[in-house]
Symmetry: C2
Amino acid sequence: MEAAQNAANAVPGARSVPGRRIPVPGTVSPEFQAAIAAPYRVPAWNADPGNAAEWKALVARLAAQTAAPLPALRERLGVVSTPEVIGGVKAWIIAPKVVPERNRHRLLIHIHGGGYVYNPGEAGTVEAVLMAAFGGFTVISFDYRMPPDAPYPAAMDDAMAVWKAALGLQPAENMAVFGTSTGGGMTLALMLRAKREGVPLPAAIAPGTPWSDLTETGDSYKANEWLDNVLVSYDGVLTRAARLYAAGRDLRDPQLSPIYGDLRGLPPTILTTGTRDLFLSNTVRTHRKLRQAGVEASLQVFEGMSHAQYLFDPDAPETREVFTEIAGFLDKHLGSAAKTP
Amino acid sequence: MEAAQNAANAVPGARSVPGRRIPVPGTVSPEFQAAIAAPYRVPAWNADPGNAAEWKALVARLAAQTAAPLPALRERLGVVSTPEVIGGVKAWIIAPKVVPERNRHRLLIHIHGGGYVYNPGEAGTVEAVLMAAFGGFTVISFDYRMPPDAPYPAAMDDAMAVWKAALGLQPAENMAVFGTSTGGGMTLALMLRAKREGVPLPAAIAPGTPWSDLTETGDSYKANEWLDNVLVSYDGVLTRAARLYAAGRDLRDPQLSPIYGDLRGLPPTILTTGTRDLFLSNTVRTHRKLRQAGVEASLQVFEGMSHAQYLFDPDAPETREVFTEIAGFLDKHLGSAAKTP
């Protein structure tokens, strides 16, 4: 192996890496070892529906699977979810049964993930439930419109409408916006749009492993291909979802790929990813771009973790750790005083 | 590929990843693209000297190569190096020609890397020169004893002697300790030892991609094997160096692998690594352990970067970025007042 590898990498260029079996690391909790050992998520990662009806059937089936355990999860974590309409958008207010005093006048806006196609309805609220439970925050999670029915800019229009409505509920300096994957990309795009429109920004944001670049740009799209057991490869549902959502627009438009935007003036940001994450590069490139733009930005990278894997097992210590760290960061940056009348 | 990969990963367990050619990412500077494209560092990574004399010959040859460009580099970066003996240890005081006012009473201690075997003499001072140039700090870099002549604890004894001597030069609250790879591991081990001996700790530390675990523990030892073009694999000089240095001691002794130590009470820490780094897991595991211990800890991960690659090209923008970020972190945490007489 050594001699063959030296020979295959003896001239400058692409890195030649042999086929391998990479063991489950012993450096994470048993719960996370199980998540890392899990088979690829078929068909979530490689779905290729032939038409709108097939997309909708697949999305509905997966969403039902994701939503089914939610009532029991909320009950177990002591979290209450209340349907609401915020800024004309279907939403849920999700909060712990008792909100800690310091969070009484704070509000988080959650933007769910799912590649712009998955997780409609309550299926999109899992992360909001975890944040409410582990962070003690009141969270608004909303059901933005998605393709195939509603490509860009519908999702961003809904996000903007919810954010503007939220500004009537609590002071901007008491609020944060967060979300994972597509929700992380949308969080960043929302900041760029609010900046452009002169709308106040929140006190902090927490994009988790953000889909900040819809093009296949960034080293981990290749380096972590086949290693990440959640997204697996760009050449799966990601490619199709990006195309559906963009509906002909340039994928490098900063409203679709916010990494190409001007990030100056964004609020303090905490980013989360894992060493096996297909979006590791999306995350660290975003971190660097934020720092280069003078933004306070904190990065956490979890051992062995694939894409967004901190959303899958509420009982894994790493899940609690991710949300506790984010909550601590938000707690440091959010104001807590009531709105002046 | 897709069907074969799905089949190979259809049951829980080790991840099956096919052989691949991973392109040089376009998301880094041209200088860094050249570093990422570079062939494996043969024989640095896979050296296997048969006896002490062969070790010394190899080490001397590589050190001469590394030291040769130093005078020109110092000249170009406006940095002066003065030989000195600190705490009985051969050292260099390395400083910019003009030290900025706020750094006049600050002092950094640099612990060089090289797997406990490489970089004796001035070859060990490259990182100190970069930090002096990009951070504007006065730095003491020292030539600790190494195997095969001097296994553990000689290196740590020297580090401790230098640290104690430094405490007579500037107030602890104006000082930091930093180093890369082995130097990062020794930085952490030095903190544990100072804590145990009741010696004051510095105001901050900056372990770069620390060899915090000398055992082959951590996901990236496998996931980034053959991808990192600097260290390449644990099954090379690393294995041999760890054995030489430990000289029969348990590699999990926290003085050898500080990740197994009690990290509570360590000073604010900034950690640096790259997405292709064989020590990515060493770094993120250390970051998590520090955070779990309640230590303020900041993590920066650079796109496509292999192990310690920020030390190789002083002209790469990423090199300047690494040191500017570290310097900013230190500036925030170090005091600047003169020692009270």
